[in-house]
Amino acid sequence: MADFATLGDRLADFGVSRRAFLKYASWLGSLMAMTPAASRAMAAELAKARRQSVIWLSFQECTGCTEAITRSYGPTLEDLIFDFISLDYHHTLMAVSGEAIEHARKEAMAANKGKYIVAVDGAIPLKDGGIYSTSAGETNLAMLEETCKDAFAIISIGTCAAYGGIPKANPNPTGAVSVSDIIKDKPIINIPGCPPIPEAMTGTIAYLLAFGKVPELDHLGRPKAFFGDNIHDRCYRRPFYERGQFAKSFDDEGARAGWCLYEVGCKGPVTYNACATTKWNGGTSFPIQSGHGCLGCSEPDFWDKGGFYVPLSGSVGPTAKLIGGAAIAGAVAGVAAAAVARHRKSSLNKG
């Protein structure tokens, strides 16, 4: 990473006024539920920040997280912020390939020892020596351990990196695990989602740049600023839930009227994310607004929660078989108990 001017100087070079920059910092600060004073501090610190080396590792993933972050509809300033991150390694976005990119990664690691941020998207397969996902002849596990050794912090981008995600879904054929299952001695920030909200990714990176520390996290390692509220509590369809008005299918009158999607399996009540507030595509919409229930994609093991279309209050598992078996056993036990009692009574009468 070459030596560059501060972010504030570079923005000025790009013709971005201080007012516009403060507006952006205020927007980012409000997005992260920061106080006005903290927002101003963030603006001041961001302006002084220098390019931050970021090494982005892609493991068992679908590239959806990269697709999301590159389609950020945030202000143009946000794109400029990204200009100030030296993205030193990223399979999808780098022009070069082969030995050259591996050289770039190692060079960035050496030049920014202890200061660089590692962003990881994708789970890490461990089964059979981790052979199910390799890059440049290295397993994901080896590359992760090597790259994270001298990192300042790690950002697990997407549910796969944060919690194992879809690769870890039952039966987990590759033995996929999350970053935090492997790396134990570095600060790890989880930005889950399938994919995550772009502003949650960029906002967290901006926070790290501005304050040089990890933002406040919840018990699942997620920044509380973006994952502090559950979707149900912030959902614009919540009044329909309270009134008992539910869509019963995806094309009935209730669905067309925009009623609550709880009955068709929405997992909003147990899912913590900023979808209902920050939304997607520049605040245009989010899955529930588009007519589909929340899948709970920012929660661990969301793929194995018993079905996307089973209501949250419904039981999951082999309920019918279990109850059927219990009914037969109960009936047999009841009839047998009655028969034994009658027999004893009959014996007593005879005696």
Binding site: E242, R243, V270, T319
Partner: protein
Amino acid sequence: MDLLDFARGPAINVAMAVLVFGVLWRLLAIVFLGKPVDRTVPRLGTPGPFMAGVREIARRMVPHPTFAFAERFAFFNGWVFHVGLAIVVFGFRPHILFVKNLTGLSWPALPSGVIYAVGAITALSLTAALIKRLTSPVQRFISTADDYVSWLVTMAPVVTGLAAVGHVGARYETLLAIHILSVAVLLIWLPFGKLFHAVLVFLSRATTGAFLARRGV
């Protein structure tokens, strides 16, 4: 597997299996026990067993006039929490969906606000019932551990349900899991304690009614 997964999966499934097993076991053991042959001649002019049974069920819905005043608290409070429980259990959409998910049966729900209000009234009513039990020397004397356990497993789902919808004390998913687990405990206890009256109440009253009617009582 987190707590909610455990509650929605193994816990509630095993609880329902225990409920079905226990109810059928105890119910069929009684039904197939048979009743002794009654060699008496039925009194003339009395209704048949079915009508006598229905009449007895209706008659016992209210206390006998002799005891109406003395039993006014038990009567009114009993009705309040029984009706309250019925409304909360069968009127809340998530509860209906639980049944629908199992059986395919569904019916219209009440607004959530109504359920919250009824739930709060039910909790107060159950609390009053416990206070009465503890403060009445006679009731306390005849109470057994079964009464207190039955009260506790009935009260717990009401309180945890209210806490879940109000997000009181913990995150929603934790409260929901605790609520489902409390329901699981209720279902497991139901066939084996005094709560089994939920299944037997009409059967036993009808049987008593038919028996007494035959004697002209």
